[in-house]
Symmetry: C2
Subunit: 131 residues, 2 copies
DNA sequence: TTAGGTGCAAAACCTTTGCCATCCC
DNA sequence: GGGATGGCAAAGGTTTTGCACCTAA
């Protein structure tokens, strides 16, 4: 069972108090203002705990390692959260989203990456609830 | 200038010949059937060369390191390819895409991750062409 | 009391890089 | 010939883990 510690509270406070999407290293530096002798391992451990519990979001695409694709055109992917397989999805690319977001944000949008996540046909069962 | 070597050809052949989205390690093992003494470094070097040249796609989200977000609801992100900043995008989540893809693929789709890529307002200039 | 958490350091893991020999162009 | 590439091994950077000591419940 998850316990309530000052380290955990401090990490969550830093994460809640920023509008950026910080890395573990950045969070570590911030938290040290409050708990100078906290260790980087503790930051990683708690971020993992909270991400797995669904208390925070971890931004990644397909896990830690890069994957490569000989197709050069932009297209969507599906990743099975049980077996880790990645495959192409036939859904056409919605380029109008790029224009819409460009208009709203004022940014220059070149393209977007989209990954559907769930269970493939070889991995029956209930989706992983992360808790 | 990019040179034409048998290592490069073999790597591209493996990548073209699979419908999976392999990791560098997996490609390395396949290529060794043809070039037993090829080194893993060469595989990485060529994948990077080809990805940077736009000959293949590299599947990743925000670079190597994980980023975290205190928002728990699914939402879209924007990443500036020049300065690396990541920020939230207000565009509502298109959940109907999940159902559509589920219907077409037969997979169970829990959610999708979407990242717009381009240049933020602080990074003027032409988008990075990767070549 | 005790299972879970912490700090520290080492290990694990993926990827890049330096060096020198080799090979395209 | 000369610069790009390959093989090898070492280094680099991020994340995880083992262990002994704490601490919240």
């Amino acid at each position: 069972m998850q316990r309530d510690t000052k380290q955990k509270r401090a990490i969550l406070k830093v994460l809640t108090g920023t509008r950026s999407h910080p890395t573990a290293e950045w969070i570590y530096n911030e938290v040290r203002n409050e708990i100078p002798n906290i260790s980087l391992g503790t930051v990683y451990r708690n971020l993992r705990l909270m991400a797995d519990a669904g208390d925070i979001l971890e931004l990644d695409m397909c896990g830690a390692v890069s994957r490569f694709d000989a197709r050069r055109d932009n297209h969507y992917h599906f990743r099975c959260e049980r077996c880790g397989e990645v495959c192409d999805v036939d859904e056409p690319v919605h380029q109008e989203l790029d224009e819409k977001v460009a208009k709203v944000t004022g940014f220059t949008v070149s393209y977007h990456k989209l990954v559907f996540v769930g269970l493939c046909r070889e991995c029956p069962g209930t989706p992983i609830s992360k808790s």
